[in-house]
Amino acid sequence: MKYRNPRIPEGINVSDSHPLKELLILAGGALLLLVLLSWLLGQFGGRLARLLPFEKEAAMAPVSLLRSDAGSDLQVYLDRLGDRLGEQMDLPDGMLIHFHVNGNETFNAFATLGGNILLYRGLLERLPHENALAMLLAHEMAHIAHRDPIAGIGQGLAIQGLIGLLLGDPNLAVLGSAGIYTQLHYTREMERSADAAALNAVHDLYGHIGGAEDLFRVIRAQREYSGDSEMPAIFSSHPLDAQRLEAIAELAQERGWTTTGEATPLPLEFGRWMAEATARATDAAGGDEPEPGEATSPSYLPPHPHPG
């Protein structure tokens, strides 16, 4: 008997499909699915979270952050300005806003759970006049009026739950970014509507919106100074500075607002208040308080830890 191996044609055990084509179809499908599901779950999570009564939310506030370095004069001034803005914004009954000033040089301000707004000296001291400060306060107050901090947590949990469930495989972790960018899309929406509501309040308070846009100029200047280039819009939680300035101009035109007007100066003592806050923060840092860097980015904060 003669033994031999026949020549077997190629391509029987290997599929004749182009790997790049397969990658496009599979990755495209997975991305589409993720974005769609993240969007739906984000809607759902956000809506659900907003149903939580405001009083319950107050109990979840990050207490460790709520130390204020503001002297009583600064506190009274901020509270009063906040009250005046609040009247224009029709805040729901029982929605109390608490301002806290942190004396360190971080350039930031954000709204968090329970109606708490954190303002950092690094941002406050760069504001040129009261109108820019009012725009900042009104923007953060609008986040609270819209229940954005709690909605952000709801969306985050829902979307991250989805990602965890679908993408247990670490090889697919990169697809999780699709969910995160969908979440950023929500965040940007929140920012835009907070900008609009804040502008409305500033207009009603001062009769014009002159100076309000200086807030964004300050933010842009700081960004250029610190050498941070702006991320492309899709990666950023906030609309780009230029887009925000444009949106302001558009809104003003649409509603026929006066865009120029004399800005109200900050109180004469404002500089001294800032120095006092700095001193208090330095004293506190000498004690057993957390380092300034640590206090600025706790992981459980809603996604608003950015300027503006």
Partner: protein, 150 residues
């Protein structure tokens, strides 16, 4: 954003280098298969009894691991189901390479053919399958070496 860039760099590196390596390997496989075709590998368990062949165990083993691109593609496939085509060519190469190594060993022994050829596969990523993903493919058989003519 930087992790995304890193991911794309790894993915394209995996793709291009993997493609080049695969094409080169297939060329070599085809060439050696042609050369060793005169030494048949037979699955049968009943070797010819005449003449009185000397017998020896011959083995050929290959360990393969997937590249970044193929692994990502396979992980995506896990979401939707279906044929994991990105692994097919990899395993095809490994099987053929193992068989060739076995035949090479047999040839070195002066064998005329190899009988009772079998394949064995072992995953050596034990418990870390999500991060490593390597398999060994072992081909083994009984080499039949013709008796020396005196």
């Amino acid at each position: 954003m930087y992790s995304l860039i890193l991911f794309l760099v790894l993915l394209s590196l995996g793709y291009f280098i993997g493609q080049i390596a695969e094409r080169r390997h297939y060329r070599s496989i085809l060439e050696r298969e042609e050369r060793l075709n005169s030494l048949p590998a037979i699955a049968s368990r009943h070797p010819p009894t005449e003449p009185h062949y000397h017998q020896a165990l011959v083995t050929g083993s290959t360990v393969v691991s997937v590249d970044y691109f193929k692994r990502f593609l396979a992980a995506l496939r896990n979401l939707f189901g279906g044929r994991v085509t990105s692994y097919e060519s990899l395993l095809d190469r490994a099987r053929r390479e193992s068989l060739l190594r076995m035949k090479q060993q047999a040839k070195a022994l002066g064998a005329a053919m190899v009988f009772n050829v079998k394949y064995e596969t072992a995953s050596i990523s034990k418990g870390r399958g999500k991060t490593i993903g390597s398999v060994e493919i072992l081909a083994y058989g009984t080499a039949l070496i013709p008796p020396r003519v005196r």
